[in-house]
């Protein structure tokens, strides 16, 4: 029997180690995933991204119930769209028609982007823009070649050429800029699975009770089985 288990274990380890090589190596964002980080990311997202992108699945009220943001703040600095409603999903400030006219396509909804692409992908995408005079917008991206989105964070990041040369210095140091992007990714991670904080709060209680139940069940079983193992 033991040999079977060892064999299967080896097979799993072997299978896990062979991974696919990708065109661009994706790096993981560095942040502490808690409500404060996500609140920070929410404000950054509102400032830089919500002009074009919606978070259709998440209602504004969740920022109050999940993250503890004051309702007044949500109304003042988050519900920027003229037809935003506290009880409805988060809207972009720009209309779809304007977006189409300016960028060729409407910006996609970002509710599930982290679940769909992974946070490494989103983070690397946001830090991989470079200046490309051949593109109509002037921007290109290593993760999404011929990207339609402009580098909205360029004033903070600075402008880079394709081979990584600084063409224009940004307002933030690279380290500070990467923290900022990481916070935005943290916000998008929250929107793609807002049950996160609730699940993690419940975790210790649920698992604790189940472990106690299992222990009691084990003692009961051992008691009953005493005469079988004589």
């Amino acid at each position: 029997m033991r040999k079977v288990w060892i064999g299967l274990l080896v097979a799993i380890l072997f299978a896990g180690n062979v991974s696919l090589a990708r065109a661009v190596t994706l790096t993981a964002p560095q942040y502490v995933f808690n409500k404060a980080t996500v609140r920070e990311g929410t404000l950054l997202f509102m400032d830089h991204c919500s002009a074009c992108h919606s978070i259709h699945s998440l209602r504004y009220e969740r920022l109050e119930t999940d993250l503890g943001m004051p309702k007044a703040q949500i109304i003042k600095s988050i519900m920027l769209s003229s037809n935003a409603n506290f009880l409805e999903g988060m809207r972009p400030t720009m209309t779809q028609a304007d977006a189409k006219a300016w960028f060729g396509i409407a910006a996609p909804d970002l509710s599930h982007i982290v679940r769909a692409e992974g946070q490494r992908w989103v983070y690397t995408y946001l830090t991989s823009f470079y200046w490309d005079p051949k593109r109509p917008s002037g921007w290109n991206n290593r993760v999404v070649p011929a990207v339609a989105m402009p580098d909205v964070l360029a004033p903070w990041e600075g402008i880079y050429s394709k081979n990584g040369q600084v063409l224009h210095r940004g307002r933030l140091t690279p380290a500070a800029y990467h923290r900022k992007v990481a916070d935005i990714v943290a916000f998008l991670r929250y929107t793609s699975d807002p049950s996160y904080f609730k699940r993690h709060n419940l975790g210790p209680y649920v698992l604790g009770s189940l472990i106690i139940l299992s222990l009691l069940a084990y003692l009961l079983k051992r008691n009953y089985w005493r005469d079988v193992h004589k």
Binding site: A15, R199, L207, L210, S214, Y224, V228
Partner: protein
């Protein structure tokens, strides 16, 4: 007994049933950890029914709204995330249990005479569960749902003569759309599920007719006390009810830990492409099935010709039915058959490698692995009758070991 219970039992054989199938039903006393899987499967099926029922209260089966209704469950329904994660993660856990349950049957020769029918009914349940999983998979109408529906229904196309009509019937039209979702929903929650439930009942009836096998693969009924009770048997209740209750506790702990801390299991239990809305214009470069179906998909791809590939896959799926007749050795359990045990280990590893390779994109570099895997898988069944009739065996004990 109270008056009421006498009154009741005169009209309904509850007491008799409990005696015959619990308190005076004798099971071998040497079950090991793999024997928990059966009762846990029963538990999981009930939990799927419960979570599925709650999901259905919010799900909308139209191509327009299916995706949104599922996201509505995740974001807006009270405890909706719990219901959906239970249902989604439950599927993967059921398949883990099914594979453990079947591995157990193969390791200890539980499919052998007189349990052939028990094995066949069980394997029918497994095949039905694959179908049930596929039907459910299409319902949330993410992009993977759409393309999986497209690919799997097109397999029907390969059936001679009636293929195109069958595909049309399965889809409810030329393409995957609202009609497909509605008939898949009806199948998933009514017909298919009822057949599975009925098969589970038959499985248990057959089990109680022949009695459980055990890790030693010997018959406990051959050594009885004068009053007819097997010497190595213990009453199912209370011994195995308390033991299985402990198993339930541990299993629910694992289940809860997954739901609370890793509900997508890094994209294995809930895949990335299910978070995009269905889009007929954006075909996925690598539509791969969920992990529990991946081995068959890998074998499908092992042959570049569509018809032969489907043929190989079909063969791989039906071969386990023949196990009771392929194994010729008088000894059941692999504990006393080193060669057979080695074959099972190789087969187990091959199956896991096929799971892995079936999840990879269709690249030529995986071809060799897919073919080798398919060859070993089929080879197991080809070699079994030969090996089992010539292999040396170890001394089998008279009575069960601990």
């Amino acid at each position: 007994m109270s008056k009421f219970s006498d009154w009741f039992n005169k009209r309904f054989p509850a007491r008799e049933f409990i005696r015959a199938s619990m308190t005076q039903y004798y099971a071998p006393k040497n079950f090991n950890i793999l024997y928990y899987a059966g009762s846990l499967l029963l538990l999981m099926i009930v939990l799927q029914l419960l979570s599925g029922f709650l999901l259905m209260a919010h799900y909308v089966a139209t191509s327009q709204d299916a995706f949104n209704s599922v996201q509505g469950i995740m974001y807006d329904t009270k405890w909706g995330w719990l219901i959906r994660y239970m249902h989604v993660d439950g599927v993967s856990l059921i398949f883990i249990l099914l594979y453990a349950h079947m591995l157990r049957g193969i390791l200890y020769g539980s499919f052998r005479e007189p349990r052939e029918l028990l094995w066949i009914i069980g394997y029918l349940i497994y095949i039905m569960m694959m179908g049930e999983a596929f039907l459910g998979y299409v319902l949330p109408f993410g992009n993977l749902s759409y393309w999986a529906g497209q690919v799997i229904t097109s397999i029907l196309h390969a059936i001679p003569f009636i293929g195109p009509q069958l595909t049309m019937l399965a889809r409810g039209g030329p393409g995957i759309g609202t009609a497909t979702l509605q008939r898949f929903l009806a199948l998933h929650v009514v017909l298919w599920f009822l057949i599975i439930a009925a098969l589970i009942v038959m499985h248990l009836v057959a089990l109680h007719q022949v009695g459980s096998n055990n890790p030693d693969g010997i018959e406990i009924k051959e050594h009885k006390r004068p009053d007819g009770i097997p010497l190595d048997g213990i009453p199912f209740h209370p011994y195995y009810t308390v033991k299985d209750f402990f198993g339930v506790g541990v299993w629910l702990t694992i289940f809860a830990a997954i739901i609370l801390y890793a509900p997508t299991m890094h994209g294995i239990f809930l895949e990335k492409n299910t978070f995009f809305r269905a889009n007929p214009m954006v075909s996925l470069p690598d539509v791969t099935p969920p992990w529990y179906l991946a081995p068959y998909y890998a074998m499908l791809r092992a042959i570049p010709n569509k018809y032969w590939g489907i043929g190989l896959m079909g063969l791989a799926i039906v071969l386990p039915f023949s196990l009771p007749w392929l194994d010729r050795n008088p000894v059941r359990s692999s504990r006393y058959r080193p060669w057979y045990r080695t074959m099972i280990i190789i087969m187990g590893i091959t199956f896991l490698v096929l799971v892995w390779v079936g999840e990879q994109p269709p690249l030529p570099k995986y071809f060799l692995i897919e073919r080798l895997g398919a060859a070993i898988y089929i080879g197991f069944y080809v070699l079994l009758p030969i090996v089992s009739s010539i292999e040396p065996t170890r001394a089998v004990p008279e009575r069960v070991t601990r």
